[in-house]
Amino acid sequence: MSAAIEVHGLTKTYGDLTAVDDITFSVGQGEFFGILGPNGAGKTTTLEMIEGLRQPDAGRVRLLGENPWPRNASLLPRIGVQLQASSFFERLTAREQIRTFAALYGVPAVRADAWLGRVGLEDKAGTRTEKLSGGQKQRLAIASALVHDPEVVFLDEPTAALDPQARRNLWDLLGTLNESGRTVVLTTHYMDEAEALCDRVAIVDHGRLLELDTPSALVRGLDADVRIYVDAALLDVDEAAAIPQVSAAERDGDSTVVRTKAPSVVLAALAERQVLEGLQVKAATLEDVFLTRTGREYRA
């Protein structure tokens, strides 16, 4: 399968600031690709260079085998973009918005209306976009990006500014977007979101690509400890440290935190001592990957 997107040495500077610094990666067709990083990491700038909205200062972009810059009219019907939740015409209803976007691509109104249903907005079809909730606006923006059934779709932080519940709800929709072989590129500053949705994740910080792999490989590659939280009243730090294969033990609030690379051995030992009441096991996450690579706590 050939690559849907190839990016080589992509660089963009604004004055002294290198917003995107020599980034190289490729995205396969049908892949759900995530670009993860804190605010200001350069995610949007990277996306906009791939979409053909900005000219790279250095490097090369191939989108569906073509150069997107300058405005490449033959590419435009093949890609879909959601730039930000408010990119709508003023004072139109949800149905009018998506029909207008559909018309720009020569797509008939019935197909636009069907997309409203797919994203669960048929009840809101007659509501003006200004009156929609944040989650509903995002659904409409995503539907508007997909209305012409593009081969590649770009979603820039579609869950930003949503409450946790709305964010989870949106994940269900996002997870279906590459079902039909569509390539999806999503940026996010939520670690859990990248882990839940993406086939592969590029972690960026200060414009640089730190890591690129599947979420599980990234975590595995860390060789990080699993943390087991035990009620401190049942097991103190010294007892915990004495268990074989435990690499470290520490107190964290009401819990004793046991770190190990052999969780099954340690869990068996804990079971023997009958201290499993309220026990929690936490595997390493992308947050640990970020911490290890940058030495900083991940803060979105």
Binding site: E48, E51, G52, L53, R71, A73, L76, P77, I79, V81, L83, Q84, S86, S87, F88, F89, E90, R91, L92, E96, R99, T100, F101, A103, L104, Y105, G106, A109
Partner: protein, 352 residues
């Protein structure tokens, strides 16, 4: 639906659903039309006289002349000459009249020369009429005054084109400024750039909507002025339609410039206002420029609205034909091209 058509419909709906835009484009200028054309016209059409003591001349006028006198003048009475003179000096009335023996004396002020001449001329006519009546002879010659402009001295004839021009300038400039800045802030501009719709289609749709709004303004203004205030259109009034199209392009260009310069949608509209309001004053939209100093009138020639106002008056109320407007088209379209080019140079995709 084509991209052009759907963009036009979307923009059109967006405008007419915005109560504030509709108010400023249509209702607000109409209030001025009613004020200038309807209310003020009423009060200024009669000359005001103050009669000091008994003025025998007026009482001795033959009955038809007396009616005419009452129609021409609004008369108040006083016995105090000094008070009457103060009123004249302060411009509260146009003249004070009194009898000194057989001499009819009219006191007037030269402050408003046109009014002074009108007052003098009209009073002299009544004195002549009174003399003829006193001689007991039937008058040999009859006199009837007929205005050259055929009632066109009515204020409505002159305020309508100017106020219409102002209304069109306002909505075209504000609309273009707000659209450019609003679409930039919401990234809709970039979103559209990533759709297959061409820049030409997008721009044409926006211009089309602005032109339709301007023609709606014209229909409402001219409709109200003719039906409610008795405005009379002259033969080539329809030439106002292409003039308005050309004017809309000029004012949109100004709006684009404001939108390109400003940092926020609100700032864009304020800046457009900063362009349009002084232009409207200098272009004679609110009051005629006849009394303005020469240098101000020269400056006003740089304003597209000045040319649009003049040309609209020419074809709508002065009875001139299309050939009088040729230069106006050249100026309006030239202004649109130059200012759009400047705006394009200043254009940025991003709000920040």
């Amino acid at each position: 639906m084509t991209a052009f058509w759907s963009l036009s419909v979307a923009t059109f709906k967006g405008f007419f659903r915005d109560k504030q835009s509709v108010f400023f484009a249509i209702v607000f200028p109409l209030m001025f039309l009613v004020l200038f054309g309807g209310v003020l016209d009423f009060e200024t059409s009669r000359l005001e006289l103050v009669e000091v003591g008994d003025v025998a001349l007026v009482e001795e006028l033959p009955p038809p002349a007396q009616d005419a006198f009452e129609e021409a003048f609004e008369v108040t009475s006083t016995d105090d000459l000094d008070e009457a003179l103060t009123q004249v000096a302060e411009g509260d009335v146009d003249a004070a009249i009194e009898m000194r023996g057989d001499t009819f004396v009219a006191h007037y002020s030269q402050a408003d020369q046109v009014k002074a001449a009108m007052t003098q001329g009209t009073l002299r006519a009544f004195v002549d009429a009174a003399n003829v009546a006193a001689s007991g002879e039937p008058p040999r010659f009859a006199f009837r005054a007929e205005r050259v402009e055929d009632e066109s001295l009515d204020a409505i004839q002159f305020v309508t084109p100017g106020l219409l021009g102002w209304a069109i300038a306002m909505s075209a400039a504000f609309g273009a400024a707000a659209t450019l800045q609003g679409w930039r802030e919401s990234k809709l501009l970039r979103r559209l750039r990533l759709s297959p719709a061409s820049t030409g289609q997008i721009v044409a749709a926006r211009i089309g909507v602005a032109v339709i709004i301007a023609l709606v303004q014209m229909a409402i203004f001219v409709g109200l002025a003719t039906v409610a205030f008795g405005m009379q259109l002259t033969g080539y009034w329809w030439m106002a339609v292409p003039l308005i199209v050309a004017g809309t392009l000029s004012f949109m260009a100004l709006g684009l410039l404001a939108g390109a310069l400003a940092k926020s949608a609100e700032g864009a509209v304020n800046l457009a206002n900063f362009f349009v309001l002084p232009m409207a004053f200098l272009s004679g939209s609110f009051f005629p420029l006849d009394g303005a100093p020469e240098w101000l009138r020269t400056i006003s020639l740089a304003m597209p609205l000045r040319h649009l106002n003049d040309a609209m008056s020419d074809v709508m109320v002065r009875g001139l034909g299309p050939s009088a407007t040729v230069l106006t088209f050249v100026i309006l379209l030239g202004f649109a091209v130059v200012v759009t080019a400047v705006a394009a140079r200043l254009f940025r995709w991003d709000a920040d």
